[in-house]
């Protein structure tokens, strides 16, 4: 998935991928656990470990627990994910651990996301037997979206992607709104937390559970965010501006986390 070209005003300083990674990393506190996939999430977790959260427990759904990552993994199951790890266990045990409430954060993506944070990674088109485009499906996304305490979504933002209603509800956000996760039988207290895009950081209104802009990135206007969203967005009052990546963040990210630019160089492709 290629991230759209993001901001305008910061060309000399940092690129969009760097911003995504730095912003995402700030939400991970020490002593928490996070399930990560490849790409931005693993870079964010590595950056957090080096800057703010040395004891962040990194979990890969295929079984890698607390590795000392030597470099970016290509697969969430590849051997980098167990490099000097504490444990190389089973996916089943990771999912059990998730179900017991031991996973604080997870990172998810998707082809579509709606105003309640529901995600579609299954198909374009609403006819299940005849999809216009078929995607890989849930993988572990539905499991993490159902059972992790806080779901973070990192995604490029566009009206095509931020839709009023997902074609296929692969992974639960707040489903139909307040109370609907609980009515469906999902564990209370868990669910959508933040959406981090190339334009803004979004959260959810505490009562209505609808998506809400919390801060916009430097150089981005609220109008840009709205134009790139296919539903009516709530706006936090006061609306913040995202702190740009600090020099420290950028240095560690570029020199220690991703020196080969496997993640932060993707935009340049």
């Amino acid at each position: 998935m290629a991230y759209d070209d993001p901001l305008k005003a910061r060309k000399a300083k940092y690129n969009g991928m760097e911003l995504l990674v730095c912003v995402a990393s700030r939400y991970l506190e020490d002593g928490a656990s996070v399930s990560v996939g490849t790409g931005v999430p693993v870079a964010a977790a590595m950056l957090a470990q080096k800057l703010y959260a040395p004891n962040l427990l990194v979990i890969f759904e295929a079984g890698g627990i607390a590795p000392l990552l030597p470099t970016m993994p290509i697969s969430v199951g590849d051997s980098r994910t167990t490099h000097r790890a504490i444990q190389a266990t089973s996916m089943t045990e990771v999912m059990d651990t998730l179900s017991r409430g031991l996973v604080d954060y997870c990172f998810l993506g998707g082809a579509q996301i709606d105003l309640y944070g529901n995600l579609n990674s299954t198909q374009v088109g609403t006819d299940y037997r005849k999809p216009k485009v078929r995607f890989p499906g849930s993988g572990g996304a539905n499991d993490f979206g159902s059972l992790a305490w806080r779901t973070m979504v990192v995604t490029p933002q566009s009206a095509r992607r931020f839709v009023p209603k997902v074609d296929f509800l692969t992974t639960p956000g707040y489903l139909d709104g307040p109370g609907s996760r609980e009515r469906a039988g999902l564990p209370p207290g868990a669910g959508p937390y933040k959406v981090i895009t190339n334009l803004a950081v979004l959260g959810y209104h505490p009562e209505s559970k609808r998506m809400m802009v919390e801060s916009i990135h430097p150089g981005v206007t609220l109008e840009e965010v709205r134009v790139n969203t296919g539903f009516e967005l709530l706006v936090k009052d006061p609306l913040g501006t995202t702190d740009p990546p600090s020099e420290d963040e950028l240095r560690v990210l570029r020199e220690e986390v991703d020196p080969l630019k496997l993640v932060i160089g993707r935009e340049a492709k």
Partner: protein, 329 residues
């Protein structure tokens, strides 16, 4: 809500008990060839599950052989299925699939012809999640027909699964009952095996212990054969015990171009070549003719892909012996 999808496998544990009962618990030599293992143990129409994690510790040699022998009408457990799915789709081997993760190659991208195979209507899917398929295998490993879980609730994934909602008799809480998944055949690649079928896996296990328990027949490919004392000397090595296993084949580099932890890293260039070939029917057919249909066996494939020289490079990559980014040239 009740899942509208179809269950592709037998759920009744009593039928399976009869099947498992008939397996011999003798320590006997089960070593055979890749060709014979597939010929004897996998039949058209069987439900197949593949060990490993899509592109990690997959039994590539067995997968290629299945395609070359032209198996058709298989059921397939898409439980992280990436390159394994791509191989079987190349042979149009399956027509129904329990879909947790299919088609894609994780961050590498989506192979277009494989996707077309799914979009064409040739494959009937039932939706699940990675956890759901893991737990379905666990239910089977426990010899019961269902297990309660809390994934999928309230979503279209649930709607297109074959799960059913039930109420916990102790808490009144809603759960999804997941039907046990008893595959006809499991194919699993391991680090070491003895002739009887005892297996050692290093690194992540994915769901392979439950998979071996849940399956009617189990075919093992191993990087190397070891004597039984490898296990009797240190029982911590026994990831899969012999009495679950029906056939053993020794295939060094048997997971190539996948990543075999502690052995060799994935061949990203070859995987990329395959992915690129899927851009058009013509390049796809040419690629498959060259690398899959047009060759004798897996050894020929390894030779075609660079042979021992390439394997050494992948071993260096696995062990981080060269600065990253320089090893794959």
């Amino acid at each position: 809500m009740e899942g509208q999808g179809r269950i592709f496998t037998e759920v009744d544990p009593d039928l399976l008990r009869g099947c498992f009962r008939s397996k011999s618990k003798k320590l006997t030599n089960k070593v055979t060839s890749v060709k014979e293992a597939v010929q004897i143990h996998l039949h058209d129409g069987d439900y197949l599950a593949v060990g490993g994690f899509g592109g990690v510790r997959i039994p590539t040699a067995l997968l290629h052989e299945i395609v070359r022998q032209g198996r058709k009408g298989l059921g397939f457990a898409g439980h992280p299925a990436t390159h394994d799915c791509e191989i079987l789709a190349a042979g149009k081997c399956f027509d129904r699939c329990d879909a947790a993760y299919i088609i894609g190659l994780e961050a590498r991208g989506i192979p277009k012809m494989t996707r077309k195979y799914f979009e064409s209507g040739a494959v009937e899917c039932t939706e699940w999640t990675n956890a759901a398929l893991s737990w379905r295998l666990r239910a089977a490993a426990m010899g019961v027909s269902f297990i309660p879980a809390r994934s999928m609730l309230g979503t279209d994934t649930e709607l297109h699964s074959a799960a059913k909602e039930i109420i916990c008799p102790f808490t009144g809480k809603k759960y999804l009952a997941l039907p046990a998944l008893f595959p006809d055949v499991a194919i699993i690649h391991v680090h070491e095996a003895d002739i009887n079928g005892n297996c050692h896996i290093r690194g992540i296990l994915v769901s392979d212990q439950d998979l071996a328990r849940a399956s009617k027949r189990v075919i093992i490919s191993a990087e190397r054969l070891v004597p039984i004392d490898f296990f009797r000397d240190d029982q911590e090595k026994t990831t899969i015990p012999y009495y679950l296993v029906d056939a053993v084949v020794e295939v060094p580099f048997g997971s190539y171009p996948g990543n075999m932890p502690y052995e060799y890293y994935s061949d990203e260039e070859h995987l990329q070549e395959w992915l690129t070939a899927e851009e058009s029917p013509e390049t796809y057919q040419a690629f498959l003719d060259k690398y899959l249909f047009g060759i004798r066996d897996f050894d020929a494939y390894l030779e075609l892909c660079g042979g021992t020289h390439r394997m050494s490079q992948l071993r260096d990559l696995e062990y981080l012996r060269k600065p990253e980014g320089e090893g794959a040239d």
